[in-house]
Amino acid sequence: MKALRTAGFYLVAGLFFLWAVFPFYYAVVTSLKTGFAVMTPTLWPSAPSFANYVHIFELGFGRNVLNSVIVATLTVLVAGLVSLLAAYALSRVSFRGRSTLLVTMLGATMFPQAAVLSGLFSVIRGLGLYNTWWGLIFSYLLFTVPFTVWVLTAFMRELPQELEEAAIIDGAGPWVIVTRIFLPLLAPAMAATGLLAFIAAWNEFLFALTFTLDNTARTVPVAITVFGGSSSFMPPYGNIMAASAVVSAPLVVLVLVFQRWITSGLTMGAVKG
Protein backbone atom coordinates (compact mmCIF):
# COMPACT_ATOMS: atom_id res chain seq x y z
CA MET A 1 0.00 0.00 0.00
CA LYS A 2 2.76 2.40 0.95
CA ALA A 3 4.81 1.42 -2.10
CA LEU A 4 1.75 1.98 -4.26
CA ARG A 5 1.24 5.45 -2.85
CA THR A 6 4.89 6.33 -3.37
CA ALA A 7 4.65 5.11 -6.94
CA GLY A 8 1.51 7.18 -7.44
CA PHE A 9 3.28 10.20 -6.03
CA TYR A 10 6.18 9.83 -8.41
CA LEU A 11 3.85 9.36 -11.34
CA VAL A 12 2.00 12.60 -10.55
CA ALA A 13 5.24 14.44 -9.82
CA GLY A 14 6.74 13.15 -13.08
CA LEU A 15 3.73 14.30 -15.08
CA PHE A 16 3.90 17.75 -13.51
CA PHE A 17 7.62 17.90 -14.28
CA LEU A 18 7.07 16.99 -17.93
CA TRP A 19 4.17 19.41 -18.20
CA ALA A 20 6.27 22.27 -16.85
CA VAL A 21 9.47 21.61 -18.73
CA PHE A 22 8.49 20.14 -22.08
CA PRO A 23 7.27 23.28 -23.94
CA PHE A 24 10.48 25.17 -23.22
CA TYR A 25 12.57 22.13 -24.11
CA TYR A 26 10.70 21.75 -27.37
CA ALA A 27 11.19 25.45 -28.18
CA VAL A 28 14.94 25.02 -27.79
CA VAL A 29 14.88 21.88 -29.96
CA THR A 30 12.95 23.73 -32.68
CA SER A 31 15.33 26.68 -32.56
CA LEU A 32 18.21 24.34 -33.43
CA LYS A 33 16.50 23.06 -36.58
CA THR A 34 16.68 24.70 -39.97
CA GLY A 35 14.78 24.63 -43.24
CA PHE A 36 12.13 21.96 -43.63
CA ALA A 37 13.32 20.11 -40.53
CA VAL A 38 11.57 22.81 -38.51
CA MET A 39 8.23 21.58 -39.76
CA THR A 40 8.92 17.94 -38.89
CA PRO A 41 8.14 17.42 -35.24
CA THR A 42 10.93 15.42 -33.63
CA LEU A 43 12.03 15.40 -30.02
CA TRP A 44 15.68 15.83 -30.95
CA PRO A 45 17.27 18.00 -33.67
CA SER A 46 18.83 15.64 -36.23
CA ALA A 47 21.36 18.20 -37.44
CA PRO A 48 21.57 20.90 -34.74
CA SER A 49 22.58 24.30 -36.05
CA PHE A 50 22.74 27.80 -34.66
CA ALA A 51 21.69 29.34 -37.98
CA ASN A 52 18.44 30.69 -36.52
CA TYR A 53 20.33 32.42 -33.72
CA VAL A 54 22.73 34.00 -36.18
CA HIS A 55 19.84 35.07 -38.35
CA ILE A 56 17.81 36.82 -35.63
CA PHE A 57 20.82 38.87 -34.61
CA GLU A 58 21.30 39.83 -38.26
CA LEU A 59 17.71 41.07 -38.13
CA GLY A 60 18.63 43.46 -35.32
CA PHE A 61 17.55 41.38 -32.34
CA GLY A 62 20.63 42.57 -30.45
CA ARG A 63 19.16 46.05 -30.33
CA ASN A 64 15.92 44.67 -28.88
CA VAL A 65 17.85 42.81 -26.20
CA LEU A 66 19.74 46.00 -25.35
CA ASN A 67 16.46 47.94 -25.13
CA SER A 68 14.97 45.33 -22.81
CA VAL A 69 18.03 45.20 -20.56
CA ILE A 70 18.18 48.98 -20.18
CA VAL A 71 14.44 49.49 -19.70
CA ALA A 72 14.07 46.67 -17.17
CA THR A 73 17.22 47.60 -15.22
CA LEU A 74 16.40 51.29 -14.91
CA THR A 75 12.80 50.52 -14.01
CA VAL A 76 13.97 48.29 -11.18
CA LEU A 77 16.49 50.84 -9.90
CA VAL A 78 13.98 53.69 -9.82
CA ALA A 79 11.18 51.56 -8.37
CA GLY A 80 13.49 49.98 -5.79
CA LEU A 81 14.84 53.28 -4.50
CA VAL A 82 11.53 55.08 -4.11
CA SER A 83 9.86 51.98 -2.68
CA LEU A 84 12.50 51.44 -0.03
CA LEU A 85 11.78 54.88 1.41
CA ALA A 86 8.02 54.45 1.20
CA ALA A 87 8.20 50.98 2.73
CA TYR A 88 10.05 52.39 5.72
CA ALA A 89 7.34 54.96 6.30
CA LEU A 90 4.53 52.45 5.81
CA SER A 91 5.98 49.71 7.97
CA ARG A 92 7.69 51.65 10.75
CA VAL A 93 5.82 54.86 11.42
CA SER A 94 2.22 54.99 12.50
CA PHE A 95 0.51 57.99 10.99
CA ARG A 96 -2.96 58.95 9.92
CA GLY A 97 -3.84 57.67 6.47
CA ARG A 98 -1.38 54.80 6.55
CA SER A 99 -3.98 52.05 6.05
CA THR A 100 -5.54 54.06 3.23
CA LEU A 101 -2.15 54.35 1.54
CA LEU A 102 -1.54 50.63 1.97
CA VAL A 103 -4.91 49.76 0.46
CA THR A 104 -4.19 52.18 -2.38
CA MET A 105 -0.90 50.39 -3.05
CA LEU A 106 -2.59 47.02 -3.06
CA GLY A 107 -5.31 48.35 -5.33
CA ALA A 108 -2.71 49.84 -7.65
CA THR A 109 -0.95 46.48 -8.06
CA MET A 110 -4.19 45.19 -9.56
CA PHE A 111 -4.59 48.24 -11.76
CA PRO A 112 -5.74 47.18 -15.23
CA GLN A 113 -3.08 48.57 -17.58
CA ALA A 114 -5.50 48.66 -20.50
CA ALA A 115 -7.73 51.07 -18.58
CA VAL A 116 -5.15 53.86 -18.81
CA LEU A 117 -3.76 52.92 -22.20
CA SER A 118 -5.15 55.90 -24.10
CA GLY A 119 -4.39 58.40 -21.33
CA LEU A 120 -0.87 57.07 -20.87
CA PHE A 121 -0.39 57.18 -24.62
CA SER A 122 -1.20 60.88 -24.81
CA VAL A 123 0.80 61.68 -21.65
CA ILE A 124 3.84 59.92 -23.13
CA ARG A 125 3.39 61.70 -26.48
CA GLY A 126 2.93 64.99 -24.64
CA LEU A 127 6.19 64.50 -22.75
CA GLY A 128 7.95 63.63 -26.02
CA LEU A 129 8.74 60.14 -24.76
CA TYR A 130 7.01 58.14 -27.48
CA ASN A 131 9.24 55.41 -28.91
CA THR A 132 11.96 55.98 -26.29
CA TRP A 133 13.34 53.99 -23.37
CA TRP A 134 12.15 56.69 -21.01
CA GLY A 135 8.56 56.38 -22.15
CA LEU A 136 8.63 52.68 -21.32
CA ILE A 137 10.42 53.18 -18.00
CA PHE A 138 7.88 55.86 -17.09
CA SER A 139 4.92 53.62 -17.88
CA TYR A 140 6.48 50.59 -16.16
CA LEU A 141 6.53 52.43 -12.85
CA LEU A 142 2.76 52.02 -12.95
CA PHE A 143 2.91 48.32 -12.22
CA THR A 144 6.32 47.96 -10.54
CA VAL A 145 6.15 50.66 -7.85
CA PRO A 146 2.97 49.54 -6.05
CA PHE A 147 4.23 45.96 -6.10
CA THR A 148 7.69 46.76 -4.75
CA VAL A 149 6.26 49.06 -2.08
CA TRP A 150 3.83 46.37 -0.97
CA VAL A 151 6.37 43.56 -0.80
CA LEU A 152 9.11 45.63 0.84
CA THR A 153 6.63 46.88 3.43
CA ALA A 154 5.75 43.29 4.27
CA PHE A 155 9.44 42.36 4.56
CA MET A 156 10.31 45.40 6.65
CA ARG A 157 7.55 44.69 9.12
CA GLU A 158 9.31 41.45 10.01
CA LEU A 159 12.42 43.21 11.28
CA PRO A 160 12.61 43.67 15.05
CA GLN A 161 11.52 47.02 16.48
CA GLU A 162 14.48 47.13 18.90
CA LEU A 163 16.98 47.73 16.12
CA GLU A 164 15.45 51.03 15.32
CA GLU A 165 14.91 52.04 18.92
CA ALA A 166 18.59 51.56 19.62
CA ALA A 167 19.44 53.72 16.62
CA ILE A 168 17.01 56.43 17.67
CA ILE A 169 18.52 56.52 21.15
CA ASP A 170 21.91 56.91 19.51
CA GLY A 171 20.51 59.92 17.70
CA ALA A 172 20.28 58.47 14.20
CA GLY A 173 17.91 60.28 11.82
CA PRO A 174 15.44 58.50 9.54
CA TRP A 175 17.73 58.67 6.51
CA VAL A 176 20.57 57.02 8.43
CA ILE A 177 18.18 54.41 9.83
CA VAL A 178 16.96 53.45 6.35
CA THR A 179 20.30 53.46 4.54
CA ARG A 180 22.59 52.16 7.30
CA ILE A 181 20.37 49.80 9.26
CA PHE A 182 17.50 48.61 7.12
CA LEU A 183 19.14 48.51 3.70
CA PRO A 184 21.84 45.97 4.68
CA LEU A 185 19.32 43.81 6.52
CA LEU A 186 16.90 44.03 3.64
CA ALA A 187 19.43 43.18 0.94
CA PRO A 188 17.98 39.71 0.28
CA ALA A 189 14.46 41.09 0.28
CA MET A 190 15.48 43.92 -2.04
CA ALA A 191 17.10 41.38 -4.35
CA ALA A 192 14.01 39.18 -4.40
CA THR A 193 11.69 42.12 -4.98
CA GLY A 194 13.99 43.62 -7.59
CA LEU A 195 14.18 40.32 -9.41
CA LEU A 196 10.40 40.01 -9.54
CA ALA A 197 10.06 43.59 -10.75
CA PHE A 198 12.76 42.93 -13.34
CA ILE A 199 10.91 39.88 -14.64
CA ALA A 200 7.67 41.89 -14.82
CA ALA A 201 9.35 44.70 -16.76
CA TRP A 202 11.27 42.30 -19.00
CA ASN A 203 8.08 40.43 -19.91
CA GLU A 204 5.77 43.43 -20.34
CA PHE A 205 4.01 43.52 -23.67
CA LEU A 206 0.96 45.82 -23.88
CA PHE A 207 2.82 49.10 -23.19
CA ALA A 208 5.85 48.05 -25.20
CA LEU A 209 3.59 47.29 -28.15
CA THR A 210 1.69 50.55 -27.89
CA PHE A 211 4.40 53.04 -26.94
CA THR A 212 7.12 52.00 -29.39
CA LEU A 213 7.24 52.30 -33.14
CA ASP A 214 10.46 50.67 -34.31
CA ASN A 215 13.71 49.14 -33.11
CA THR A 216 14.83 52.37 -31.41
CA ALA A 217 13.03 51.30 -28.25
CA ARG A 218 11.21 48.08 -29.16
CA THR A 219 11.78 45.45 -26.49
CA VAL A 220 12.14 41.71 -27.04
CA PRO A 221 8.56 40.55 -26.40
CA VAL A 222 7.31 42.86 -29.14
CA ALA A 223 10.21 42.02 -31.43
CA ILE A 224 9.38 38.32 -31.21
CA THR A 225 5.85 38.89 -32.42
CA VAL A 226 6.97 40.82 -35.50
CA PHE A 227 9.58 38.32 -36.72
CA GLY A 228 9.02 37.26 -40.30
CA GLY A 229 10.28 34.06 -41.86
CA SER A 230 13.57 33.79 -43.65
CA SER A 231 11.64 33.01 -46.80
CA SER A 232 8.07 33.74 -47.63
CA PHE A 233 6.85 30.14 -47.80
CA MET A 234 8.55 28.91 -44.62
CA PRO A 235 6.81 29.56 -41.32
CA PRO A 236 9.17 31.59 -39.13
CA TYR A 237 9.07 29.23 -36.15
CA GLY A 238 12.80 28.50 -36.23
CA ASN A 239 13.55 32.19 -35.74
CA ILE A 240 10.76 32.77 -33.26
CA MET A 241 11.87 29.84 -31.12
CA ALA A 242 15.50 30.99 -31.25
CA ALA A 243 14.45 34.46 -30.09
CA SER A 244 12.22 32.89 -27.43
CA ALA A 245 15.12 30.84 -26.13
CA VAL A 246 17.36 33.92 -26.01
CA VAL A 247 14.86 35.94 -23.96
CA SER A 248 13.83 33.14 -21.67
CA ALA A 249 17.20 31.58 -20.93
CA PRO A 250 18.41 34.37 -18.61
CA LEU A 251 15.11 34.29 -16.76
CA VAL A 252 15.14 30.53 -16.40
CA VAL A 253 18.70 30.67 -15.04
CA LEU A 254 17.86 33.53 -12.64
CA VAL A 255 14.79 31.70 -11.41
CA LEU A 256 16.63 28.45 -10.83
CA VAL A 257 19.51 30.16 -9.02
CA PHE A 258 17.36 32.45 -6.87
CA GLN A 259 14.48 30.04 -6.42
CA ARG A 260 14.24 30.47 -2.67
CA TRP A 261 14.27 34.28 -2.79
CA ILE A 262 11.68 34.41 -5.52
CA THR A 263 9.32 32.17 -3.65
CA SER A 264 9.67 34.26 -0.51
CA GLY A 265 9.14 37.47 -2.47
CA LEU A 266 6.04 36.12 -4.16
CA THR A 267 4.49 34.84 -0.99
CA MET A 268 5.37 38.00 0.94
CA GLY A 269 3.47 39.93 -1.67
CA ALA A 270 0.36 37.90 -1.24
CA VAL A 271 0.00 35.60 1.71
CA LYS A 272 1.86 37.55 4.33
CA GLY A 273 0.74 41.00 3.19
Binding site: L85, G119, L206
Partner: protein
Amino acid sequence: MAVPEPSPGDARSQGMTLQQRRVVWAWVFMSPVLLALLAVALWPLVTTFLASLTDASISGGDGRLVGLSNFLHQGATGWGGVLASHEWWRSVGNTALFTLVTVGAETIIGMLLALVLNSRLRGSRPLRAAVLIPWAIPTVVSSEIWTWMLQQQGGILNLLMLDAHLIRQPIDWLSDPSLMLPAVMMVDIWKTTPFMALLILAGLQTIPRDVYEAARIDGVGPLKTFFRVTLPLVWPAVLVAVIFRMLDALRVFDLIYVMTGAVPQTETMAVYIQSHLVGFGEIGYASAASVVMFLIMALLLVAIIWSGHKRLLGESR
Protein backbone atom coordinates in the same frame (compact mmCIF):
# COMPACT_ATOMS: atom_id res chain seq x y z
CA MET B 1 4.68 53.27 20.30
CA ALA B 2 7.53 52.29 22.53
CA VAL B 3 9.79 55.09 21.35
CA PRO B 4 11.59 57.09 24.02
CA GLU B 5 10.65 60.74 24.48
CA PRO B 6 13.36 63.09 23.26
CA SER B 7 15.39 64.72 25.98
CA PRO B 8 14.44 68.32 26.75
CA GLY B 9 17.80 69.55 25.52
CA ASP B 10 17.44 68.00 22.05
CA ALA B 11 17.88 70.98 19.76
CA ARG B 12 16.60 69.19 16.66
CA SER B 13 13.17 68.53 18.10
CA GLN B 14 12.20 72.20 17.69
CA GLY B 15 9.11 71.80 19.76
CA MET B 16 8.00 68.63 17.99
CA THR B 17 7.86 65.31 19.74
CA LEU B 18 9.82 62.44 18.28
CA GLN B 19 6.63 60.87 17.05
CA GLN B 20 5.63 64.07 15.24
CA ARG B 21 9.02 64.32 13.61
CA ARG B 22 8.75 60.70 12.50
CA VAL B 23 5.39 61.42 10.91
CA VAL B 24 6.88 64.34 8.97
CA TRP B 25 9.70 62.09 7.81
CA ALA B 26 7.21 59.40 6.86
CA TRP B 27 5.50 61.82 4.48
CA VAL B 28 8.83 62.99 3.10
CA PHE B 29 9.74 59.37 2.42
CA MET B 30 6.34 58.65 0.91
CA SER B 31 6.49 61.63 -1.43
CA PRO B 32 8.56 60.13 -4.30
CA VAL B 33 6.19 57.18 -4.55
CA LEU B 34 3.14 59.43 -4.31
CA LEU B 35 4.55 61.73 -7.00
CA ALA B 36 5.35 58.75 -9.22
CA LEU B 37 1.86 57.32 -8.84
CA LEU B 38 0.34 60.74 -9.49
CA ALA B 39 2.31 60.94 -12.73
CA VAL B 40 1.92 57.40 -14.04
CA ALA B 41 -1.50 56.44 -12.67
CA LEU B 42 -3.66 59.40 -11.80
CA TRP B 43 -2.64 61.73 -14.62
CA PRO B 44 -3.19 59.13 -17.38
CA LEU B 45 -6.39 58.08 -15.70
CA VAL B 46 -7.73 61.64 -15.71
CA THR B 47 -6.54 62.06 -19.32
CA THR B 48 -8.41 58.90 -20.25
CA PHE B 49 -11.57 60.12 -18.54
CA LEU B 50 -11.35 63.45 -20.35
CA ALA B 51 -10.62 61.81 -23.72
CA SER B 52 -13.67 59.60 -23.27
CA LEU B 53 -15.82 62.72 -23.45
CA THR B 54 -14.41 63.78 -26.82
CA ASP B 55 -14.61 62.58 -30.40
CA ALA B 56 -10.81 62.41 -30.70
CA SER B 57 -9.73 59.96 -33.36
CA ILE B 58 -6.89 59.47 -35.81
CA SER B 59 -9.28 59.65 -38.75
CA GLY B 60 -10.27 63.28 -38.36
CA GLY B 61 -11.94 63.75 -34.98
CA ASP B 62 -10.55 66.97 -33.55
CA GLY B 63 -11.20 66.29 -29.88
CA ARG B 64 -14.50 68.16 -29.61
CA LEU B 65 -16.45 67.55 -26.43
CA VAL B 66 -19.30 65.18 -27.17
CA GLY B 67 -20.53 64.54 -23.65
CA LEU B 68 -21.30 60.94 -22.84
CA SER B 69 -22.10 59.88 -26.40
CA ASN B 70 -19.05 57.58 -26.56
CA PHE B 71 -20.72 55.68 -23.75
CA LEU B 72 -24.29 55.78 -24.99
CA HIS B 73 -26.20 57.77 -27.55
CA GLN B 74 -29.26 57.34 -29.69
CA GLY B 75 -28.33 57.33 -33.35
CA ALA B 76 -30.38 57.04 -36.54
CA THR B 77 -30.14 53.26 -36.48
CA GLY B 78 -30.62 52.73 -32.76
CA TRP B 79 -28.45 52.97 -29.67
CA GLY B 80 -24.72 53.50 -30.05
CA GLY B 81 -21.68 53.83 -27.81
CA VAL B 82 -19.71 51.35 -25.72
CA LEU B 83 -22.59 50.47 -23.42
CA ALA B 84 -24.78 49.59 -26.39
CA SER B 85 -22.04 47.75 -28.25
CA HIS B 86 -22.67 44.07 -28.72
CA GLU B 87 -18.92 43.56 -29.38
CA TRP B 88 -17.97 45.23 -26.10
CA TRP B 89 -20.30 43.11 -24.01
CA ARG B 90 -19.15 40.02 -25.87
CA SER B 91 -15.57 40.85 -24.88
CA VAL B 92 -16.70 41.37 -21.27
CA GLY B 93 -18.35 37.94 -21.47
CA ASN B 94 -15.22 36.37 -22.93
CA THR B 95 -13.13 37.94 -20.16
CA ALA B 96 -15.49 36.65 -17.47
CA LEU B 97 -15.58 33.15 -18.93
CA PHE B 98 -11.81 33.13 -19.37
CA THR B 99 -11.33 34.23 -15.76
CA LEU B 100 -13.79 31.74 -14.27
CA VAL B 101 -12.45 28.73 -16.14
CA THR B 102 -8.74 29.47 -15.84
CA VAL B 103 -8.77 30.51 -12.20
CA GLY B 104 -10.99 27.55 -11.32
CA ALA B 105 -8.72 25.07 -13.06
CA GLU B 106 -5.60 26.74 -11.69
CA THR B 107 -6.91 26.49 -8.15
CA ILE B 108 -7.62 22.77 -8.43
CA ILE B 109 -4.44 21.85 -10.30
CA GLY B 110 -2.44 24.30 -8.20
CA MET B 111 -3.70 22.65 -5.02
CA LEU B 112 -2.68 19.22 -6.30
CA LEU B 113 0.73 20.54 -7.33
CA ALA B 114 1.18 22.28 -3.96
CA LEU B 115 0.38 19.02 -2.14
CA VAL B 116 2.99 17.20 -4.22
CA LEU B 117 5.54 19.95 -3.56
CA ASN B 118 4.75 19.91 0.16
CA SER B 119 5.44 16.21 0.52
CA ARG B 120 8.75 15.24 1.99
CA LEU B 121 9.48 12.62 -0.62
CA ARG B 122 12.63 13.03 -2.66
CA GLY B 123 12.11 14.71 -5.99
CA SER B 124 9.83 17.48 -4.81
CA ARG B 125 12.74 19.93 -4.78
CA PRO B 126 13.71 19.60 -8.48
CA LEU B 127 10.00 19.75 -9.27
CA ARG B 128 9.70 23.03 -7.39
CA ALA B 129 12.45 24.48 -9.57
CA ALA B 130 10.93 23.07 -12.75
CA VAL B 131 7.46 24.53 -12.21
CA LEU B 132 8.95 28.00 -11.95
CA ILE B 133 9.90 27.79 -15.64
CA PRO B 134 6.41 28.34 -17.11
CA TRP B 135 5.94 31.20 -14.68
CA ALA B 136 9.25 32.91 -15.54
CA ILE B 137 9.03 32.66 -19.32
CA PRO B 138 7.55 35.84 -20.82
CA THR B 139 3.87 35.42 -21.68
CA VAL B 140 4.60 36.35 -25.27
CA VAL B 141 7.11 33.52 -25.47
CA SER B 142 4.71 31.00 -23.93
CA SER B 143 2.10 32.12 -26.42
CA GLU B 144 4.49 31.66 -29.34
CA ILE B 145 5.70 28.27 -28.11
CA TRP B 146 2.16 26.97 -27.65
CA THR B 147 0.98 28.46 -30.93
CA TRP B 148 3.75 26.46 -32.54
CA MET B 149 2.99 23.27 -30.59
CA LEU B 150 -0.73 23.57 -31.40
CA GLN B 151 -0.25 23.95 -35.18
CA GLN B 152 -2.36 21.70 -37.35
CA GLN B 153 0.55 21.18 -39.72
CA GLY B 154 3.78 20.26 -37.96
CA GLY B 155 2.48 20.82 -34.43
CA ILE B 156 3.92 18.32 -31.96
CA LEU B 157 0.76 18.10 -29.89
CA ASN B 158 -1.27 16.82 -32.82
CA LEU B 159 1.49 14.41 -33.71
CA LEU B 160 1.71 12.98 -30.19
CA MET B 161 -2.05 12.65 -29.96
CA LEU B 162 -2.20 10.95 -33.37
CA ASP B 163 0.56 8.55 -32.31
CA ALA B 164 -1.30 7.73 -29.12
CA HIS B 165 -4.48 7.16 -31.18
CA LEU B 166 -6.32 9.77 -29.13
CA ILE B 167 -7.46 11.53 -32.30
CA ARG B 168 -7.82 10.50 -35.95
CA GLN B 169 -7.44 13.90 -37.59
CA PRO B 170 -5.06 16.67 -36.60
CA ILE B 171 -6.97 19.34 -34.70
CA ASP B 172 -6.83 22.95 -35.86
CA TRP B 173 -6.79 24.45 -32.36
CA LEU B 174 -6.24 28.06 -33.29
CA SER B 175 -8.59 28.38 -36.28
CA ASP B 176 -11.55 26.27 -35.22
CA PRO B 177 -13.88 28.88 -33.67
CA SER B 178 -15.08 26.53 -30.94
CA LEU B 179 -11.54 25.60 -29.88
CA MET B 180 -9.80 28.99 -29.85
CA LEU B 181 -10.90 30.10 -26.41
CA PRO B 182 -10.28 26.68 -24.82
CA ALA B 183 -6.80 26.59 -26.38
CA VAL B 184 -5.94 30.01 -25.01
CA MET B 185 -7.29 29.03 -21.60
CA MET B 186 -5.18 25.90 -21.62
CA VAL B 187 -2.02 27.94 -22.15
CA ASP B 188 -2.96 30.35 -19.39
CA ILE B 189 -3.52 27.45 -17.02
CA TRP B 190 -0.12 26.05 -17.95
CA LYS B 191 1.55 29.37 -17.36
CA THR B 192 -0.01 30.51 -14.10
CA THR B 193 -0.75 27.31 -12.16
CA PRO B 194 2.81 27.41 -10.71
CA PHE B 195 2.11 30.84 -9.19
CA MET B 196 -1.06 29.52 -7.63
CA ALA B 197 0.73 26.41 -6.38
CA LEU B 198 3.50 28.44 -4.75
CA LEU B 199 1.03 30.64 -2.89
CA ILE B 200 -0.95 27.63 -1.73
CA LEU B 201 2.29 25.89 -0.78
CA ALA B 202 3.23 28.81 1.45
CA GLY B 203 -0.12 28.32 3.17
CA LEU B 204 0.39 24.57 3.48
CA GLN B 205 3.77 25.08 5.11
CA THR B 206 2.20 26.99 7.97
CA ILE B 207 0.18 23.92 8.97
CA PRO B 208 2.03 22.12 11.76
CA ARG B 209 2.99 18.53 10.96
CA ASP B 210 1.53 17.20 14.22
CA VAL B 211 -1.97 18.07 13.00
CA TYR B 212 -1.53 15.39 10.32
CA GLU B 213 0.10 13.10 12.84
CA ALA B 214 -2.94 13.40 15.11
CA ALA B 215 -5.29 12.66 12.22
CA ARG B 216 -3.23 9.62 11.26
CA ILE B 217 -3.24 8.24 14.80
CA ASP B 218 -7.01 8.71 14.93
CA GLY B 219 -7.19 6.55 11.82
CA VAL B 220 -8.54 9.25 9.50
CA GLY B 221 -8.05 8.41 5.83
CA PRO B 222 -6.04 10.65 3.52
CA LEU B 223 -9.07 12.02 1.61
CA LYS B 224 -10.93 12.86 4.78
CA THR B 225 -7.78 14.42 6.25
CA PHE B 226 -7.54 16.64 3.19
CA PHE B 227 -11.13 17.85 3.26
CA ARG B 228 -11.51 18.10 7.03
CA VAL B 229 -8.05 19.25 8.09
CA THR B 230 -5.89 20.57 5.28
CA LEU B 231 -8.46 22.44 3.23
CA PRO B 232 -10.01 24.48 6.05
CA LEU B 233 -6.56 25.44 7.35
CA VAL B 234 -5.17 26.44 3.95
CA TRP B 235 -8.36 28.15 2.76
CA PRO B 236 -7.34 31.74 3.61
CA ALA B 237 -4.15 31.35 1.55
CA VAL B 238 -6.15 29.86 -1.32
CA LEU B 239 -8.59 32.74 -1.21
CA VAL B 240 -5.86 35.37 -1.44
CA ALA B 241 -4.23 33.50 -4.33
CA VAL B 242 -7.60 33.27 -6.11
CA ILE B 243 -8.19 37.01 -5.73
CA PHE B 244 -4.74 37.84 -7.09
CA ARG B 245 -5.13 35.51 -10.04
CA MET B 246 -8.68 36.66 -10.74
CA LEU B 247 -7.75 40.32 -10.98
CA ASP B 248 -4.81 39.34 -13.15
CA ALA B 249 -6.89 37.16 -15.46
CA LEU B 250 -9.42 39.95 -15.96
CA ARG B 251 -6.78 42.09 -17.66
CA VAL B 252 -5.43 39.34 -19.93
CA PHE B 253 -3.96 40.70 -23.13
CA ASP B 254 -0.63 39.23 -24.33
CA LEU B 255 -1.76 35.64 -24.62
CA ILE B 256 -4.82 36.43 -26.69
CA TYR B 257 -3.21 39.11 -28.84
CA VAL B 258 -0.38 36.75 -29.81
CA MET B 259 -2.28 33.47 -30.14
CA THR B 260 -5.44 34.56 -31.93
CA GLY B 261 -5.36 38.33 -32.47
CA ALA B 262 -8.52 40.39 -32.00
CA VAL B 263 -11.18 37.92 -33.11
CA PRO B 264 -14.74 37.64 -31.77
CA GLN B 265 -14.17 34.19 -30.20
CA THR B 266 -11.42 35.30 -27.84
CA GLU B 267 -11.47 39.09 -27.67
CA THR B 268 -11.23 40.28 -24.06
CA MET B 269 -11.72 43.76 -22.58
CA ALA B 270 -8.03 44.66 -22.85
CA VAL B 271 -7.78 43.36 -26.44
CA TYR B 272 -10.93 45.26 -27.41
CA ILE B 273 -9.57 48.53 -25.98
CA GLN B 274 -6.14 48.12 -27.55
CA SER B 275 -7.51 47.27 -30.98
CA HIS B 276 -9.92 50.21 -30.95
CA LEU B 277 -7.20 52.57 -29.75
CA VAL B 278 -4.25 51.48 -31.87
CA GLY B 279 -5.91 49.51 -34.66
CA PHE B 280 -8.83 51.81 -35.42
CA GLY B 281 -7.44 54.98 -33.83
CA GLU B 282 -10.76 55.70 -32.11
CA ILE B 283 -9.22 57.52 -29.16
CA GLY B 284 -12.45 58.87 -27.68
CA TYR B 285 -14.34 55.62 -28.04
CA ALA B 286 -11.46 53.45 -26.77
CA SER B 287 -11.11 55.79 -23.78
CA ALA B 288 -14.79 55.31 -23.00
CA ALA B 289 -14.27 51.53 -23.07
CA SER B 290 -11.24 52.03 -20.79
CA VAL B 291 -13.37 53.96 -18.34
CA VAL B 292 -15.97 51.19 -18.30
CA MET B 293 -13.26 48.57 -17.74
CA PHE B 294 -11.74 50.70 -14.99
CA LEU B 295 -15.10 51.03 -13.25
CA ILE B 296 -15.78 47.30 -13.49
CA MET B 297 -12.37 46.48 -12.00
CA ALA B 298 -12.58 49.21 -9.37
CA LEU B 299 -16.01 48.03 -8.18
CA LEU B 300 -14.73 44.48 -7.97
CA LEU B 301 -11.62 45.56 -6.10
CA VAL B 302 -13.56 47.69 -3.66
CA ALA B 303 -15.90 44.78 -3.01
CA ILE B 304 -12.97 42.44 -2.39
CA ILE B 305 -11.05 44.83 -0.16
CA TRP B 306 -14.18 45.75 1.74
CA SER B 307 -15.13 42.13 2.35
CA GLY B 308 -11.63 41.03 3.27
CA HIS B 309 -10.24 44.31 4.56
CA LYS B 310 -8.83 42.90 7.75
CA ARG B 311 -7.19 39.85 6.30
CA LEU B 312 -5.62 41.62 3.33
CA LEU B 313 -4.17 44.30 5.52
CA GLY B 314 -2.90 41.70 7.93
CA GLU B 315 -1.19 43.16 10.93
CA SER B 316 -1.07 46.70 9.60
CA ARG B 317 -4.09 47.59 11.73
